[in-house]
Symmetry: C2
Subunit: 293 residues, 2 copies
Amino acid sequence: MEPLVLYVLDLASGAAPDLALRRVPARETVLTATDLSATRGDGVFETVLVVDGTPQALEEHLDRFARSAALLDLPDPRRDLWRHAVLTAAAELGTLRPRAAIKFVLSRGDEAGDGAGTGWLLGFAPSAPPAAPPAPIDVVLLDRGYRHDVAQTSPWLLQGAKTLSYAVNMAALREARRRGAQDVVFVSSDGFVLEGPTSTLIVRIDGGYLTPPPDLGILPGTTQADVFAALRGWGEQVATRRLTVPDLLGADAVWLCSSTRGAAAVRSIDGTEFAVDDVLTERLRDHLDARRK
Amino acid sequence: MEPLVLYVLDLASGAAPDLALRRVPARETVLTATDLSATRGDGVFETVLVVDGTPQALEEHLDRFARSAALLDLPDPRRDLWRHAVLTAAAELGTLRPRAAIKFVLSRGDEAGDGAGTGWLLGFAPSAPPAAPPAPIDVVLLDRGYRHDVAQTSPWLLQGAKTLSYAVNMAALREARRRGAQDVVFVSSDGFVLEGPTSTLIVRIDGGYLTPPPDLGILPGTTQADVFAALRGWGEQVATRRLTVPDLLGADAVWLCSSTRGAAAVRSIDGTEFAVDDVLTERLRDHLDARRK
């Protein structure tokens, strides 16, 4: 991962978007040791793919960003400001790389701050160009520890928010690597299939395409939404439905979707192998790459 | 909270402790936008009380720091280096305030870094002197969402590690304030009483003092350990034992222990009132304040 461009936002002054954006060298230190992002993982973020200078599914990412902020009782992000910031950083990235990504972050701010929060955007690209086409991945199932309904019963657990407190997600990916796999699908303590640590699940069962519903305390996937829109346009059946582990292991084919990786085909889950539909995976990649909004 | 002194550690070079410590202005920006503390809450920390320049229970904090790092697969913290750093910062704090605290932090480091991690220590003091004696607190019970045994079954959930991913702990404290309380005791999804978001629970039942065991995926409390040592010295019965919600609500008296607040007496839990033992609470405060290691 190579940092390319960095912008820090002025969230306190209410300035016009083009005046609230400060460009700084990408590797410069910009956070205090008392920023609540660093001391408490107390903030939210989004990562958006940038193709030829255009951020993909930006409005959907801004929607989810606002939803995450509300779940954490953070100030409502000024949509005009964040949109302008992402578009500015994306235009600059477009002059540097054909494919890149922007992570944008809102933290609760400095512990001794004014409550307006800290905001920044980092544009980055993979240090090495990705393999084309990417290899199908091996996945393990890991317990997320929560019942499927905690987002409703216990909102302070912040399930369904894309927070900076991702140590568990990172630990799950390390556990996957220890088991010889590359990724994870989380399962609720009562047996429902959820999502990956940084991805959304799509399965094909009996010819139809399914993804688990956000009311399980999972993130609504921006890439998964675009994949479903494409599949629908191609005449396929798509639906949002709860899935159990036996449902998943009995599926015809499985993908993990994320902004930076697109729709990644899954080769195995806990050793159960799946057919890899190269034709559809490639068609989805072409479709996602051709998005221009 | 007023930042007073800040030191950044050189974790990469293997330099001698006194050469690996860099003093910087306490409000200076020291972290990149790609530090994994800020982007993933991926790191561990300790907060130690400093009285007259002496850090309290330092070796116990260093033990727990190393345990947390191991649970996160972080590099084993160099004990000589961290001890030296805390003692250096504490000595300086002692010239500024009679009572202060040091938070010391190890993150996984910059996303594009060398794997050695980022380390820093912040010395701080309350902006206003605390009320003396502090008022007893009102507490609410909140579901932590996990079974009591996930630390054993699902170590990737990092229960029992003091991580930087504390957004849930902060959200729980906001929920307590919404309910008119000041603090929280977490309960496992199967009904065992755990700990506070930043504290350890002690209850008095039938004249004996009890605290829940760390195998429930909770932090071993450094202040609780010193309280138990004192109680034992005064001829009281102390024990580590699983407690249910009825056990807790039927207790004679309850305290929440933490480094910065000492043993805080609990006045009520979910509206159930407890006798406040002012004499013992004050005696414990005097005992904790008199520690000199």
